[in-house]
């Protein structure tokens, strides 16, 4: 396994760029090792070993920029990557807004956010975990007929970000996951579903048995799904699907979409875009969070907490230094995206939400990408369950749900406290009233 001195490599890149007459430069480097194994039908199927390293350099001169990347971190390799970036910068056009983030915004505190827990398990132990996970799913019910397997993956590495303001930060991180995907069959056909967990600390992963059990349950309840007639109805998005609605909102308030006037959230800061009971915030300093960081991708200090939407009112866009300057605003420390998004709830559990909805559709899977980010028009393939009197009646498939995201956000009736906290967004189920379901 290679072990490159990333700090030294970053310094070489920045020094060389300055020496070559660049006004500003920044470098992002990472290296890491990982393993992923899959067991299928109770046999080890694949073992993959990963060992990656990369350097990305951006240079700025006379408000022009160029960037280049490579895995070659020899001194000569670093220099030739910088040369490639400088060569690009000779031909790009000038834009006053280009450049590093302002020096006074750089993070000065680097507190430990508990992000690094390398997994020291032997390969055999990982194989045993995958086998146990899949065995639970396969043995859950006689209708579980086949499997796509159970996978364990583990990654740990370190990353450095440095720029010519003299900013340099090095951090270590890890991420581990366990997933299981099985197939059930009846004479009506096959259905597949899965479950997974991921965490920076392998000890905090759900047990292999719990994941296998959940994967099997999710398949079994989908068997013999049918199409329903087209109708107008309330739709409850389960927590995993609800996250995608939050994701579209975050995408629509990104500075890049805003300054290009390519977003349905254009000019909506200060306006009510969601019901009053909704607050959406990012929590960048969450201990052990998958999106946690003390600074963004440009070295700008992240806040401990920032509301994107407060009491239903859009508070600000999501900005890095370039898009902030384009809009005459200050960076919101979002170069590289938002971090640990949390969504408030209305105090209802999953069952309460179903009862409150009464009649409608519970969506547990969405497929396709039918979203127009300029207009907010939304139309996606869906599968789930028809609900009457607050109870699941039968599984549903081969339908679409459609509306406009502006209306869908305003028509949110309730948000559950049945959180899914895996990954970068923590959110419960969301009930949206009055959507069009297309079916038979």
């Amino acid at each position: 396994m290679s072990n490159i001195d990333l700090v030294k490599a970053a310094e070489i890149a920045i020094d060389y760029a300055k020496q070559q007459g660049m006004h500003q430069a920044e470098a992002e480097l990472h290296q890491g090792v990982g393993v992923s194994i899959t067991a299928r039908q109770q046999e080890l199927e694949t073992v993959e070993k990963h060992n990656d390293a990369q350097l990305v350099v951006s240079v700025y001169k006379d408000h022009k920029t160029g960037s280049a990347s490579s895995a070659d971190m020899s001194e000569a390799g670093i220099r030739s990557t910088v040369d490639a970036a400088m060569s690009i910068a000779r031909f790009t056009g000038a834009d006053d807004c280009l450049g590093l983030a302002d020096a006074q915004l750089m993070a000065t505190e680097h507190k430990d956010l508990d992000l690094y827990h390398p997994w020291h398990a032997q390969m055999n132990e990982m194989v045993d975990i995958a086998l146990a996970c899949e065995a639970t799913a396969l043995n859950a019910d006689s209708r579980i007929s086949n499997s796509e397997g159970a996978s364990v993956s583990s990654y740990s590495g370190n990353a450095v970000y440095a720029n010519s303001h003299g900013f340099l930060s090095e951090k270590k991180g890890s991420q581990h996951s366990l997933s299981c995907s099985v197939i059930g069959a009846t004479d009506q056909g096959m259905q597949r579903d899965y479950w997974y967990d991921s965490n920076r600390n392998a000890a905090k992963l759900e047990s292999p048995q719990a994941i296998g059990q959940r994967a099997a349950q999710r398949v079994l309840r989908r068997l013999d799904a049918r199409q329903i007639d087209s109708t107008q109805a309330s739709v409850m998005f389960d927590p995993m699907m609800a996250k995608s609605l939050i994701g579209h909102l975050v995408g629509a308030i990104k500075g890049g979409a805003i300054y290009k006037k390519a977003s349905f959230m254009l000019d909506k800061v200060g306006e009510s875009v969601l019901p009053e009971f909704v607050t959406i915030a990012e929590n960048p300093h969450l201990l052990g969070g998958s999106g946690s960081a003390t600074h963004d991708g440009e070295g700008v200090a992240t806040p401990e907490y920032r509301a994107l939407v407060d009491g239903g009112v859009l508070q600000s866009y999501v900005l890095g230094s370039y898009t902030a300057r384009k809009l005459g605003l200050q960076s919101t420390a979002n170069a590289g995206g938002v971090r640990n998004v949390s969504v408030s709830d209305t105090g209802h559990g999953y069952d309460e939400l179903l009862s409150q909805m009464g009649t409608g559709l519970l969506v547990t899977e969405l497929i396709g990408s039918g979203i127009n980010m300029v207009t907010g028009d939304y139309s996606r393939g869906a599968a789930g369950f028809w609900v009457e009197n607050g109870e699941l009646q039968y599984p549903v498939e081969e339908i679409t749900i459609a509306g406009n995201l502006n209306d869908m956000y305003r028509n949110i009736a309730a948000i559950g406290n049945d959180y899914d906290a895996r990954g970068n967004t923590k959110c419960g189920s969301i009930v949206v009233e009055n959507m069009t379901i297309a079916g038979r």
Partner: protein, 482 residues
């Protein structure tokens, strides 16, 4: 015939670190000297990627990337061991080979010393490096021209975004049966998208294309065509009314709407899913899975096409594989491992995103052959339905067979006439069932312009699609208006 390719590949991938035939033999020996090993391979790859982006009339960003490395794989029945090295020095590759061989049990089989014999390959595309072949100033000029042409087309154009990308890959594949196969793969792509505004309403349109060419493929006429199309689509969208919701007759235009085939049948016919029995098409060879007007092929042998390959990533020759003939399922798309396990022939569909990824059966250019109808007759036959001519992405659940693809330009058909444009809507169906409802196939087959990217298990590869105009008697349209 491919001497040039072989010398370039060796000079790029082996000579800089002085990898000798002895070194390669020792590595291959380590990979294949595992009890029960069916085959092993080493995939050396150098790739150079350059991309330039314009918005607000200025080429603001450009990026340049070089990657190289070797992927090492040993396959034992259904089992695969895999590792890779970004360092092409023998010692580093040898460490990765140790990792692979440690995964399997060491066996007794001893590989004879061999010289890897070059395999003849007929190149389907130029071996020139598109990144190096055009001066940077001309690349920037392509984007500036795109901006100028799109803005000149209509005063309602408020923003133009354009991206130009060029990739140059050099590949050398060494196999445990003693072959060495080179390939040099150029790939270029230009995308133009526009935002138009009228009476406070905004919409977008986009068009792009490319293939395995040099950047000189983007002539002024081609750029003009992309710019015109992007603007036209955006202006049509400004006028669009709500799309209907429900199951109805759907006519799909020729070309890019062939994404239907990619999703509804393509993925479900990949060998890995069928070997494992997880596809809605598993075990159905010889059965009728589409209407008898449907003949669908996957053809990796088309010159200069985005989805084409002179050799696949396992060193096998791509083919024009008939998947469905007159409605009957004929064949799956296979890579080496799945073909062996299913006792079928390889079809040259073994593909991988890079040396750091495992190969699997993937599509190349998937399209439907011509039928007998004039496109006008097909539209005339529809009383109430929609005519969809442009699409965004699609997705499929290969197990249940449910597929979706999302239209970005569609019209109502009323009493045999195309009337008003409707907003984009997602179409959903069940692959084997939906294909049975294809009642008319046109005579205007065309392939897409060369922008397709296919994702599977987290790996992206370039692909092509195509079809003639066709009618499906019954497909669910995900509009908002009941």
């Amino acid at each position: 015939m491919n001497q040039e390719q072989l010398s370039v590949a060796q000079a790029t991938l082996l000579e800089p670190t002085s990898l000798s035939n002895d070194n390669l033999n020792a590595l291959m020996h380590k990979l294949s000297n595992v009890d029960g090993c069916d085959f092993a391979d080493m995939y050396f790859q150098y790739s150079k990627h350059e991309s330039w982006s314009l918005d607000e009339g200025v080429v603001k960003t450009g990026s340049f990337n070089i990657d190289q490395g070797v992927g090492l794989r040993s396959v034992l029945g259904e089992k695969t061991a895999f590792a890779y090295s970004e360092d092409l020095n023998f010692a580093a590759i040898n460490t990765a080979a140790d990792v692979v061989s440690a995964i399997g049990r060491q066996g007794q089989s001893v590989q004879p010393e061999q010289t890897f014999r070059p395999q003849k390959v007929s190149p389907l595309y130029t071996h020139l490096d598109p990144v190096a072949a055009m001066p940077d100033i001309e690349k920037v000029a392509i984007l500036e021209l795109a901006d100028k042409l799109a803005r000149a087309r209509d005063s309602r154009v408020k923003e133009v975004m354009a991206n130009l990308a060029a990739v140059y890959e050099v590949v050398l594949i060494l196999t445990s049966d003693g072959r060495q196969i080179p390939d040099i793969r150029p790939l270029v792509r230009l995308n133009i998208s526009v935002i138009v505004e009228q009476d406070g309403k905004r919409e977008r349109g986009s068009m792009g294309g490319g293939g395995r060419h040099g950047l000189d493929y983007f002539s002024q006429d081609t750029i003009q065509h992309y710019a015109d199309e992007a603007v036209r689509q955006a202006l049509v969208s400004l006028e669009a009314v709500d799309s209907p919701a429900g199951t109805m007759e759907v006519v799909l235009g020729a070309g890019w709407p062939g994404i239907l085939l990619h999703e509804a049948v393509g993925h479900g016919l990949e060998g890995d899913f069928n070997r494992k029995g997880t596809s809605a098409f598993s075990g159905r060879i010889g059965e009728k899975v589409a209407s008898d007007q449907c003949t669908v092929v996957d053809d990796g042998t088309l010159a200069n096409r985005r989805g084409s390959l002179s050799v696949d990533d396992e060193g096998n020759q791509p083919q024009d594989t008939v998947l469905i003939e007159n409605g009957i399922l004929k064949n799956y798309m296979q890579d080496e491992q799945n073909a062996r396990l299913m006792n079928m022939g390889v079809t040259g569909n073994g593909r991988r995103e890079s040396f750091a990824h495992l190969p699997m059966p993937r599509m190349t250019n998937t399209y439907m052959h011509n039928g007998k109808y004039e496109p006008e007759e097909i539209i005339k036959s529809v009383k109430n339905g929609i005519y969809a001519v442009n699409f965004g992405g699609g997705q499929v659940d290969i197990t249940s067979g449910k597929f979706v693809f999302s239209s970005s330009e569609a019209y109502l058909i009323e009493n045999g006439k195309v009337t008003r444009p409707v907003k984009g809507a997602t179409l959903i169906g069940n692959g084997p069932q939906a294909m049975q409802t294809i009642s008319m196939v046109g005579n205007d087959m065309s392939l897409d312009s060369g922008v397709g990217v296919c994702g599977k298990d987290g790996q992206s590869v370039p692909v092509g699609v195509g079809q003639p105009t066709l009618k499906m008697d019954s497909l669910t349209v995900g509009g908002v208006s009941l």
